[in-house]
């Protein structure tokens, strides 16, 4: 069976992976793996959770560099591929977690990921996109926001993006997991037709039924090594199973409970359904440990969440003779999360604090805690669990994985839980500690507390549990008891399951309404702002007819130009998912620099030099900001705060007191007007329109938003993230340069203390304009209107003679209203399914 059948010797090799090894922190993920993928075949890649399938395909698609080994394609050998090379070689991968940008529309996602050459169509690119989506049965509108799609729809979009490039190698990573039957059939058809046209297809799966339906050849991985490879027709299901299971693991389990002794029922779950699982029923008797098996991501964690009262569910959960509501469960359950670092422990707090957290109520005297009581209780618990820690006060982050898990367990036990729910309790735990955790779980169970354990390791469930429920696509497909619980049986049941997700049978949906798309779209804030501005303007005008006088229009438009340019820059930084706090001091610094060169009587070349130096300081600042963020791994706030302070210092270094009057030739040029409207304002508005067009219709703009929306997905679809981010900060600082020129004329002198207020005002303008602080979505037009509204409000407070208190209230209320309205509108957009 290990001898590779040369079934289609004639067909050429699309890709040959040879001797691939990859280690993570000394743990082998892949060891000396060889794999040939031929043109026109569907090659199934099988294996248990963690067998190395996804890692191997990440190597094949250039996402991961192997430690050793080579990738050969068309006669060329590569020690590693880059994602860009992979795209050029037409290697397409459909990720298990779709690489899509939630803040962008379907069409924008396609344009970001797919080279324009593939979107050519006599009736335009949109027609091509619609055709490629129809081809995979994807129904939503091109202008729908991807964040509002279902998981299945995202997968179909991902598949469409891959197929349209007519790839030479197509990798599908568990593509059917979220799909309904209808979509699965369609998918199979597409995969077959792609293969028929000569595409080499690698199909990662856990399911033998799919291997039978699709695959020409099959390779099985186990513990990062190839355990076998054959033509699909030459192996039986049982032979494949034998290759999948049989991991070499040494460990000891405590004796199981005696089924004869276990009589009274302590847990009864009836018809439990929730988000990700449905209609699960099981019971547990005193002393029994319940196992939840299945391929990762088939509803096990969601079921555990429901049992712990952490998410809502329908159906009943009885513990002992009492029915528990969700709220009661949340208070009375002990829950061990799978990701204990993120969900289970406060890493910067001590062992004692972590352990005692959920039981603090027991140590109270009035409003205060009694440390003595707490210390004794924690110490008792740590002792009984044999936690190895230097002291109770040691930081929990200093403990080993096993002992950390025991601290989580201690916390669960100290709260005297009615039920204990553990998700992957021994993941990342060494062998010795594993045995102890098994023993503790046994003791808890023996004491009459129901214990439910989910694990992706079938061997562990075999050794630990008295009853195991196998989950597949959210349903309990089989239950094993007693001696019937074997690794073989559990894996068999999981990989043979053919059921498909119920709640996602409909992968498509009728197209959303045009109004709905507009309300949740980027331009709704623009309209809202414009209406607010018109209303405010009309009101002020009704009180004072000089509101539209030429002088007022000029002064308001000039202020708006300075703020507008800077806010446009800030918009770029926010779109890419960052923030630039340094814009204010940068504007001030540029004015100070300019004040040395732009005085009356300076020569033309001197003035030009001054302007170039101002621009250069902007580009330099942007490059520093971007580099600190990308290379030194500063957060955007920290990086730009550092430059904020640095620039202010430099300003004061150059001029300790205001000086260097700006020459009238310069101020006259900057304040030139067409009618009452300053030229600078027109330039700012024109530039905003150009930027808006770039943002919507050019790849540069799409890349910026892709990175801001979802950096990891953007990288997967071939966006070069680092240059994009650095470029965005440079663009931001360059726009600040234009604002500084207006400011220069407005202030008329190099004053080192000026400019800083623009940082917050620019952020306010951008937020009012509807750009998301989380990145990925927004408009330059909204920013211009936001800046306009701020200036208009300042102006209106004078016209309306508002008191100081109202001047503050007015501005604050606007910002709060904008933030609340926009976030509400977007939430609605996401909730609509």
């Amino acid at each position: 069976m290990n001898d590779q059948t040369t079934l289609t010797a004639a067909s050429a090799t699309a890709m040959a992976l040879s001797g691939i090894s990859k280690h993570y922190d000394g743990v082998a993920a892949l060891t000396n793996v060889d794999l040939d993928i031929r043109c026109g075949e569907v090659h199934a890649l099988l294996g248990e959770n963690g067998a190395g399938k996804s890692t191997l395909m990440a190597v094949a698609s250039g996402a991961i560099a192997p430690d050793t080994g080579t990738v050969s394609i068309g006669g060329n050998e590569y020690t590693r591929l880059t994602p860009v090379q992979a795209t050029q070689l037409r290697i397409a991968i459909v990720h298990q977690h779709p690489a899509v940008m939630p803040d962008m529309t379907v069409a924008e996602n396609i344009r970001t990921a797919v080279p324009a050459a593939y979107l050519e169509h006599p009736d335009g690119a949109r027609r091509a996109m619609r055709a490629m989506l129809d081809d995979v049965g994807f129904l939503p509108h091109l202008e729908d926001r991807v964040g509002s799609l279902t998981i299945a729809q995202k997968h179909l979009l991902e598949l469409a993006k891959a197929l349209v490039t007519r790839p030479s190698l197509l990798i599908l990573d568990e593509p059917t997991a979220p799909l309904g039957q209808e979509s699965v059939d369609l998918l199979f058809e597409r995969v077959r037709s792609a293969a028929a046209q000569g595409t080499a297809v690698v199909y990662i799966t856990h399911r033998l039924a799919e291997v039978r339906a699709l695959a020409d050849r099959v390779t099985v991985l186990r513990d990062g090594e190839v355990s076998g490879s054959a033509a699909a027709g030459d192996v039986t299901d049982d032979e494949l199973l034998a290759l999948i299971v049989g991991r070499k693991l040494e460990r000891t389990f405590p004796p199981k409970c005696d089924p004869a002794a276990a009589t009274d029922e302590v847990l009864a779950v009836q018809g439990l359904s929730g988000d990700g699982f449905h209609d699960v029923s099981f019971t547990a008797r005193r002393g029994e440990i319940i196992g939840i098996a299945g391929i990762v991501g088939n509803g096990q964690s969601a079921l555990l969440h429901a049992l712990a009262g952490l998410s809502s569910s329908d159906g009943t959960i009885r513990i002992g003779d009492r029915r528990y509501s969700r709220k009661q469960l949340r208070h009375r359950s002990g829950y061990l999360p799978a990701d204990r670092h993120r969900d289970g422990l406060m890493m910067s707090m001590s062992v004692r604090e972590n352990a005692a957290l959920s039981a603090l109520g027991q140590f109270r005297r009035g409003p205060l805690l009694r440390p003595g009581l707490e210390n004794r209780a924690v110490s008792r618990e740590l002792q009984s669990l044999a936690v190895k820690t230097p002291s109770q006060e040691a930081l929990v982050s200093a403990l080993s994985g096993g002992n950390q898990q025991k601290v989580v367990l201690a916390r669960a036990l100290m709260s005297k839980p009615a039920i204990l729910v553990a998700d992957e309790p021994t993941q990342g735990v060494d062998v010795g500690a594993r045995a102890e955790i098994y023993r503790i779980l046994r003791e808890i169970s023996a004491a009459g507390v129901p214990v439910v354990v989910a694990s992706s390791d079938a061997k562990e469930l075999e050794g630990l549990c008295d009853r195991v429920i196998v989950m597949s696509r959210g349903s309990a497909v089989e239950t094993f008891e007693g001696t019937a619980i074997t690794e073989q049986a559990l894996v068999h049941s999981a990989v043979r399951a053919t059921g498909h997700r119920r709640e996602q049978v409909r992968a498509g949906r009728p197209s959303s309404s045009a109004l709905g798309r507009f309300v949740t779209g980027d331009y709704a804030p623009v309209i809202i702002l414009a209406l607010v501005m018109i209303a405010l303007g009309a009101y002020v005008l009704s009180r004072n007819d000089r509101y539209l006088s030429a002088f007022n229009i000029t002064s308001v438009a000039t202020s708006c130009a300075a703020l507008g340019f800077i806010a446009l820059g800030q918009t770029v930084a926010l779109l890419v998912g960052g923030i630039d706090l340094s814009v204010g001091p940068l504007a001030g610094f540029m004015v100070v620099v300019g004040s040395f060169f732009l005085g009356d009587g300076k020569s033309g070349p001197t003035m030009l030099l001054g302007l170039l130096l101002m621009l250069a300081s902007g580009i330099g600042t942007g490059a520093v900001n971007g580099s600190l963020i990308r290379f030194a791994r500063f957060t955007p706030v920290a990086a730009t705060l550092a430059t904020y302070i640095g620039l202010q210092g430099l300003s004061f270094l150059l001029r300790s007191v205001p000086g260097g009057p700006i020459g009238s030739t310069v101020t006259d040029a900057v304040t030139r007007r067409i009618g009452p409207i300053p030229l600078s304002f027109l330039v700012m508005v024109g530039l905003a329109l150009v930027l808006e067009a770039v943002l919507r219709y050019r790849r540069t703009g799409l890349k910026v938003r892709a990175v801001g929306s979802h950096e990891e997905s953007a990288r997967k679809v071939g966006v070069r993230v680092t240059p994009t981010v650095i470029g965005a900060y440079v663009a931001c600082s360059t726009l600040v340069f234009l604002g500084a020129i207006v400011l220069l004329a407005q202030l008329g002198i190099g004053d080192p203390s000026q400019g800083t207020s623009y940082t917050l005002t620019s952020i306010t303008a951008v937020v009012l304009g509807g750009t998301s602080l989380a990145g990925g979505r927004g408009t330059f037009l909204g920013t211009v209107l936001g800046a306009g509204l701020i200036v208009q409000v300042l102006n209106a407070t004078v016209f309306l003679n508002l008191t100081q208190t109202w001047q503050y209230f007015f501005q604050g209320a606007l910002v709060v209203a904008a933030a609340v309205i926009y976030s509400q509108v977007r939430r609605t957009g996401r909730a609509v399914r």
Partner: protein
């Protein structure tokens, strides 16, 4: 996952709002000196006739605007109220409006321009940001508005960039202080001088004037940082600086400060080290006067001499603006000379005046009655 991300977004939005809200309320910036000494002189030129109005009040009907770079402390409240009270004396002013720049230069500029756009005929400006608001002042002046900046020097020239700048004669303060020192400490001694932000022109002018009087005698020595100790006119920084100097210099015979009330917190340091509080030469404030009354018995060397803090500078500026806009006769003074206010030694023109019924923030040297000032703070 979707829920997560929308929750994160909401959190971010809320965070942003909090950030912005705090920005709105903190308004700080370097602009906005708190109190500082200056001259009053208002009493000398406030006019007389009630029926016809003062001579500076002409017949032409006008509207008047007052803008502040920063309006958020008690000294500013008193100053603004003083200006309003002065405006009320002239019936030709048919409307008065006020705007507070909140320490934000952009808003200060916008306020000036807004006032002009709104159609005021006269505009009185406290130009906290100095030269940075000069273009805005110039545009107001060019638009035909009578523009009178006061107290802080905005640069520029009368009749070119604005109608008239009504500054304060800080050299006069320095001269008054120095003369008092020569008279009351004839045998000489060590002088510690405190002023506001580094390099501020007020402190430099005062220092020069003092040196002119004191240096020829050869008996006085200035200790501490030169030309003055920097306090930013901030009471907490004043306290730190003064406490350090008390420890550093065993012999301080006289302390000179252009913001007297800010020293009250640190003076007890002398008593703690069993030294008498020395003579204090400064600007007035109710809290300072009361402090002197409470501590004079235990501190034999504690003499107090104050000049009026300059709230009434605003009155002279208002008089000028109204005179120019209404066709009245401008006052003869173009600068405010702060009158001497209290002298604990001679009792002239006033003995030290503490009113315990009023808030410590009240400035009894101002024309505006103390009770009216106190009412401003209770709003």
């Amino acid at each position: 996952m979707l829920k997560m991300s929308s929750a994160v977004r909401t959190m971010t939005a809320v965070g942003a709002v909090a950030l912005l809200a705090s920005a709105c309320s903190s308004s700080g910036g370097t602009a906005g000196t708190s109190g500082s000494s200056g001259n009053s002189g208002g009493s000398s030129s406030s006019g007389s006739a009630a029926a016809t109005g003062p001579s500076w009040c002409g017949s032409k009907k006008i509207s008047l605007g007052l803008t502040d770079g920063f309006g958020g402390n008690s000294w500013r409240l008193v100053t603004t109220a003083s200006a309003k009270a002065e405006v009320a004396k002239c019936k030709s002013v048919t409307s008065f409006s006020y705007a507070d720049g909140q320490g934000n230069v952009q808003k200060a500029i916008s306020d000036i321009q807004g006032m002009v756009a709104k159609g005021v005929n006269a505009l009185v400006v406290f130009p906290d940001a100095g030269k940075a608001v000069l273009p805005a002042l110039r545009s107001a002046y060019k638009a035909g508005v009578v523009t009178v900046p006061y107290r802080v020097d905005p640069g520029g020239q009368d009749g070119v960039d604005y109608t008239k700048w009504i500054g304060a004669d800080f050299a006069n303060d320095g001269k008054n202080w120095a003369n008092w020192i020569v008279k009351n400490l004839p045998s000489g001694g060590n002088i510690l001088f405190l002023s506001g932000p580094a390099g501020n022109s007020q402190g430099i002018t005062e220092g020069k004037a003092m040196h002119q009087v004191l240096d020829p005698t050869g008996k006085y020595k200035f200790v501490g940082a030169q030309p003055f100790e920097v306090t930013n006119w901030d009471p907490s920084l004043s306290q730190q600086v003064l406490s350090a100097d008390i420890a550093k210099y065993s012999k301080i015979d006289v302390i000179v400060s252009d913001f007297g009330p800010s020293l009250v917190g640190a003076l007890p340091e002398f008593e703690k080290s069993s030294r008498s509080i020395p003579a204090l030469v400064t600007s007035d404030g109710n809290s300072l006067s009361c402090f002197w009354e409470d501590h004079k018995a235990k501190n034999p060397k504690f003499k107090l001499f104050t000049v009026a803090t300059g709230n009434d500078n605003a009155r002279l500026a208002v008089q000028w603006a109204i005179a120019k806009a209404t066709g009245g006769t401008p006052p003869t003074d173009t600068q405010f000379e702060a009158p001497v206010f209290e002298d604990s030694v001679s009792g002239t023109p006033h003995p030290v005046t503490c009113n315990r019924g009023l808030s410590g923030d009240v400035y009894l040297s101002a024309q505006l009655p103390g009770a009216q000032q106190a009412a401003l703070f209770n709003k």
